[in-house]
């Protein structure tokens, strides 16, 4: 159970009462505007209390919120979408959705990780954890973008790679490694938006891009906080502590140069105004595509190389004597 749902209960109760008062007020002789305004003020106060400042662990829950817009939500907001399927060999992985699309003046290829919006869909889509077939589908569609000479836009929203027997048997490592190679070398502009949870190598497989955008309350991490806590301390219940250590928030990652732009969310999170969030994200994608289209391909590829080349933090103990 997502703890945010519990904390949102008071807000939802207040919302309902305001709505009731409003409809009761309509066409009545006694004016209750003052009462309504008072409740609304209380509501805004509570909202700020609950969501004004989220801890990293709270952001993880925000990123996993069941009503948070998913890849299909953004795809529905595109001006056109023609879905394409399959890895051409073995399976059509429903945890990866992709196809040709239009967004304003841009024809693009869009690919995203799709988790379920309820338990039934989660089972069908393996909770958004793609199998090797999914990475190969993504890789194929990325190469199709290159064949058609169209920019590529990806949506990242996954707990990570699938920890299953079949995925290991079908060479999950190879599938992710090959996807990284394709994305790093792709000869069209590429743009990635982390819309929910960016989990480890499973996320990175779709996330090497000329520009990486990230929603304010999304998270993007080297490992899930639960996994990290289990690895380091043998205790997955210390996930909140791990979340604080991992520096997985959008603002942390903007600071490291891993994320190029943070897209603000409505107070209380993307799901509190999904339509506005989708519009805002798609607007930013359009604007960044406009920008990327102003560069030549060689400049784009060099900049992409240099961007990833720089990432990391180390000291050079021999730097003064001109060692390598």
């Amino acid at each position: 159970m997502n703890p945010l749902l519990e904390r949102e209960k008071g807000l939802l109760e207040l919302e309902r009462r305001i709505e009731d008062l409003r409809s009761a007020n309509e066409g009545q002789r006694i004016d209750m505007s003052a009462e309504i305004a008072s409740l609304e003020s209380k509501y805004r106060q509570l909202l700020a209390e609950v969501f004004g400042s989220l801890s990293p662990w709270e952001k993880v829950h925000m990123a996993r919120h069941p009503r948070r817009p998913t890849t299909l939500g953004y795809i529905a907001g595109l001006d056109a979408f023609d879905e394409l399927h399959g890895d051409r060999m073995f399976r059509d992985d429903p945890a990866i959705v992709g196809g040709f699309a239009r967004l304003g003046g841009h024809s693009i290829v869009a690919i995203g990780q799709q988790r379920g919006r309820d338990m039934k869909e989660n089972l069908a889509r393996n909770f958004g954890m793609s199998t090797p077939e999914g990475y190969r589908k993504g890789e194929r569609l990325a190469l199709l973008a290159q064949r058609f000479n169209l920019p590529l836009v990806t949506f990242v929203d996954t707990k990570g790679a699938d920890p299953g027997i079949l995925s290991e048997e079908h060479a999950q490592s190879e599938a992710i490694a090959a996807s990284l190679e394709v994305f790093a070398a792709l000869r069209v502009p590429t743009l990635c938006v982390v819309i929910g949870e960016g989990g480890s190598g499973g996320a990175l497989a779709l996330a090497i891009a000329d520009r990486v955008l990230m929603l304010e309350h999304s998270v993007y991490s080297v490992a899930s906080p639960e996994g990290c806590a289990a690895i380091l301390w043998g205790d997955a219940s210390k996930a909140d502590e791990a979340a604080a250590h991992l520096k997985l928030t959008a603002s942390d990652l903007r600071g490291f140069g891993i994320v190029d732009e943070v897209i603000p969310e409505p107070l209380g999170g993307a799901h509190r105004d999904a339509a506005a969030t989708v519009t805002r994200v798609l607007d930013r994608i359009g604007a960044v595509l406009d920008l990327l289209e102003s560069f030549s391909l060689p400049d784009l590829l060099n900049a992409r190389y240099e961007k990833y080349r720089r990432l990391g933090s180390w000291r050079d103990s021999l730097a003064t004597d001109g060692a390598p």
């Binding site: 490592s173 990284l180 990175l204 990391g312």
Partner: protein, 289 residues
């Protein structure tokens, strides 16, 4: 630098050797082995051929003809996340350095194998479980870039528990960084080889380890993306012993071959020979064009 000096060079290898117990029990057959004998036998059990995990210096010594020109040795870890749990990250690094004689989980440089010059990176599980942080990524990227510039093949021996948690997303990004360098190496026409040693998992497995033109594995090495325990917890059943072994991966078509350690050097020599032949064809074509 001459190999003998390099082996001593600031890394307390001798001290580590002195401190180590002189007898070790083979985890596979139970034989008690005298450590100098074990070392002389490439860390392979004389009785059952169990392959012990090898130290990077020993590995390089076992492969390289003469001297090893180490690069990027000045690149040392920082603490970008100011990580502290039971110990601070710098304390953990210092402890592993003392224990392993390494200052990070990879050694990179240039040398020759059977007369064939190459760029060689060797990871070492004894330092932070071979996890990849910024230094591993940076050293390997410099190695791959230098191979591209010098026009030499590149080989990497992997041994890794995955990405290094204590560097968070900066660790994950080393997968992207090394990948970008591999793309340029390949575009330049230089072959890229990897040898997967026990264990090779997580972010290393899912990046350069499986991006090579030819992928070999040492016998019985454990290789996979997700860890065995994670999978067992997920599926709530025990996995067969062979699962994720080199031999299992060979059957499943993931890797080109499984090699016993004594055969590694001759195998690499032959592969480098094919690479050389291809480069000579390229040069002939350029000359006649």
């Amino acid at each position: 630098m001459p190999m003998a000096d390099w082996l001593r060079g600031g890394r307390n290898r001798e001290k580590v050797r002195d401190d180590a117990a002189q007898w070790v029990k083979c985890p596979s057959c139970g034989e008690v082995l005298y450590r100098p004998d074990l070392s002389a036998n490439l860390d392979v059990c004389v009785r059952c051929s169990h392959h012990f995990r090898m130290h990077a210096h020993d590995r390089i010594l076992s492969l390289i003809d003469g001297d090893f020109e180490e690069i990027a040795r000045g690149i040392l870890p920082a603490d970008p996340l100011s990580w502290t749990d039971k110990k601070s990250y710098p304390q953990k690094l210092a402890a592993d350095a003392a224990k392993s004689g390494m200052d990070e989980a990879v050694l990179c440089g240039f040398g020759s194998i059977g007369g064939y010059e190459l760029a060689l990176g060797v990871m070492d599980f004894h330092f932070r479980g071979g996890t990849m942080g910024s230094v591993v990524g940076e050293r390997l990227t410099r190695l791959i870039e230098a191979a591209t510039e010098r026009g030499l093949p590149c080989a990497i021996f992997t041994a890794s528990g995955g990405a290094r948690m204590e560097e968070g997303m900066l660790a994950l990004m080393q997968m992207a960084k090394t990948t970008a360098a591999v793309v340029r190496l390949k575009a330049s026409g230089q072959p890229f080889l990897t040898v997967l040693t026990d264990p090779t998992t997580g972010g290393v497995s899912a990046s350069f380890a499986f991006q090579a033109d030819v992928i070999l594995a040492e016998r019985n090495a454990m290789i996979g993306f997700a860890g065995r325990r994670v999978i067992e917890q997920t599926i709530r059943q025990r996995l067969p012993d062979r699962f994720q072994t080199a031999e299992f991966l060979l059957e499943r078509g993931h890797i080109d071959g499984v090699v016993d350690r004594p055969n590694l050097k001759p195998t690499l020599e032959r592969l480098l020979g094919y690479a050389r032949a291809g480069m000579q064809r390229r040069k002939r074509a350029e000359l006649s064009a």
